[in-house]
Symmetry: C2
Subunit: 417 residues, 2 copies
């Protein structure tokens, strides 16, 4: 079964926007055991789009086309779909009513040009859009069934998942597969791949994939067996456990594919504990990550981004002598920061960072990439130093923040056991 | 002149990695006045890659191919390049020496498999890789000149800019164009496009583009006239000024395309001023943005992420009565937060946010998207309320943070005049 993806739009072909739609659709096909044959990007040009659609219809069984269903003159997809299939555009009353309802709900006056979006090839089947104005549709042409979806990622995803996938399950011999993700931290992708190099011979029915969500590596498993097959579940569990056994516990962030901050949030909520953060080199990123998880007010009390030494001393009660004697980037300072912020906030835990994100500020003794992580709980505090340099300020901040949260995560896991 | 881009790799065709290389290369061609014809993604499969390369060589004048130059068995590109051009792979001694030097510099033992990377089609011209192990190369085939570049984005970019572009300028009638970006905030992309709809008739020689870097809109100008043409400069300046005149000053973040945080940093450094931040709903994002700009310790002193009311009272000296009477999300509270953090840090300015990022926590009176922004300078403080809801916690945090920084930016601009 050959699958192709076609993304249309001048914003893509001029590089203004990265084509995340094709990547999303490709990953969805991969999850159901189909590797996409080709993805093609083409601009908003009638002849070029027509050309591509003719070629893919001859080559593939399933084609997903995104973009070009909007209300403007640049939006040519429906017209071209009609053209290649010797069809004509016809008003789809349900589509028009959906568009009118959309504007009514948003309390915006509908523009004349939006009428255009309700004209679809007469023999096509309309796909309703529940979160935007552009209806999708599908039709047969050449060897293929072609699905036309809006280019707006949110609308495309909703339509792909609720309309296209069920239709594909219906039409073709494909079905839902078992999928899971395991999140790793502190293991380079190349090492993870090497550590798991025997996987495919051990588990030939399960597809192994990797995704780097820096600094986290996601190990993705998808079974080529059907989800409702009893054996599939057993094999899948065995495979997952084998992978987990190949790594040190401290590197396994989540066996459910959660991000670092989601896992820390989950553990804090489960243990009904609160945290406060003192950040220097991470500059607010840890707080930003923790508060990106909805419901963060349950466990996140306070964070102090203390760049200046005065702030470390005045706000966090770090000892002036500690900074004078050891410097800001030191385990003693980081430990006092963690303790200080915990006491100030009245939280159960305090965590802290002090380090050098670069590009400047490094010395021979403390080069760019040096990071001191502090940790405090009631009656105990500690600190560690690491050197993690990725030659990029933002990436260094990201790995520092993840390393600090990982420290807390490991402590929380200890309390669980 | 027809340009095509081919990206190879299983990680792309399975959706594990988004193809940012094609987007980058497409934008570089657009800047020199060439719109790419097609971008194609294909997996690490010999027959499929060969097929695509044959097709693009017949269709295009310039082809950029990325990926598949690594040391593993999956890396097939050089072999296929030799195959389609009836050539054979031959050891390139310079390439081998470069690879050996690379490992020597990194103090890592070179693996046997890396030798493979130095074998290139015998008639191809090698392109040296100054930041990785995979050499690139170019060769003629069919109608096209094909450039083969590594898939690692950093290595690809370096090679494209320092080797491919100069070679293209040499071979073809293309040359550097004038380019600029203007950053807008608070103007939806559709409105920006509409406000500038007369642009193309007024300035037919200049290409207008938009790029959404939420919540900033970048308006991109590139001249189709050559950079060394005297008139080009005049027309370009006129065009830029016309665009600036179409928007309110408060919406123009930077006429040099800087991001919000870069522009705020630039103004603070120029005026030798410092800032402290009190964040509630933005949860550390403002601090993270400000400290992402290298050299931020010059103007950023301290930030307090005060989620809990106790933290607002204890750390920022917000009046208990203010919170009791008006609540945490109120202009009075935001103003006291800004003043409090400025005084605590001894900075020249204080800025603050208090609002509701969602998805929960909204009320009829204060719905999700409500954001109070506080501002303090010596002897003066104020606050404003906005309602900016994008139905997404992360996007709401982003627009809240940008709105707060924009408030400070406007004040800094006032001091300049």
């Amino acid at each position: 079964m050959l699958v192709e993806i076609v993304s249309t739009g001048d914003e893509l072909i001029t590089g203004s926007v990265v084509d995340t739609n094709a990547s999303y659709i490709a990953s969805k096909f991969y999850e159901i055991g189909l590797m996409v044959n080709r993805c093609t990007i083409v601009g908003d040009n009638k002849e070029k789009i027509q050309n591509v659609l003719e070629q893919v219809s001859d080559r593939a069984d399933i084609v997903i086309v995104t973009g070009g269903l909007g209300p403007t003159q640049d939006d040519l997809t429906s017209e071209i779909a009609a053209l290649i299939s010797n069809d004509e555009l016809k008003l789809d009353k349900q589509a028009l009513s959906d568009i009118e309802q959309f504007f009514k709900r948003k309390k915006i006056k509908m523009s004349e040009t939006n009428n255009k979006q309700a004209y679809l090839p007469s023999r096509a089947v309309m796909l309703r859009n529940s979160c935007g104005t552009a209806p999708g549709f599908f039709m047969n042409h050449g060897r293929a069934v072609l699905y036309f979806l809006p280019g707006v990622p949110g609308e495309m995803k909703e339509m792909f998942e609720t309309k296209v996938l069920p239709d594909l399950f219906n039409k073709f011999e494909i079905s839902k597969r078992l999928n899971t993700k395991i999140s790793l931290f502190g293991v380079p992708e190349s090492k993870a791949a090497n550590d798991l190099k025997d996987f495919q011979t051990r588990f030939p029915d399960i597809i192994l994939g990797f995704r780097a969500a820096f600094p986290i590596i996601e190990v993705k498993l998808s079974s080529s067996l059907l989800a409702d097959d009893q054996d599939a579940g057993d094999v899948f569990l065995k495979a997952k456990n084998w992978i987990i056994s190949r790594f040190d516990n401290k590197n396994i962030v989540s066996d459910k594919g959660l991000s670092m901050e989601q896992e820390v949030a989950r553990l804090l909520i489960k243990q009904q504990k609160t945290v406060a953060v003192a950040e220097s080199c991470t500059g607010g990123l840890i707080s930003h990550m923790l508060t990106d998880v909805p419901g963060s007010s349950a466990y996140f009390l306070f964070s102090a981004v203390t760049y200046a030494n005065e702030a470390k001393i005045n706000i966090l009660n770090v000892n002036n002598d500690t900074i004078l004697k050891y410097g800001a980037v030191h385990e003693h300072t980081a430990e006092e920061m963690a303790k200080g912020v915990m006491e100030k906030a009245g939280s159960d835990f305090g965590i802290s960072t002090s380090g050098i994100a670069g590009p400047t500020g490094g010395t021979d003794e403390k080069p760019v990439g040096t990071i001191c992580i502090g940790y405090a709980e009631k009656g105990f505090s500690t600190a560690r130093t690491y050197c993690l340099n990725f030659n990029d300020r933002t990436r260094n901040k990201q790995i520092f923040a993840a390393a600090c949260l990982n420290f807390l995560r490991k402590k929380l896991k200890e309390f669980e056991n």
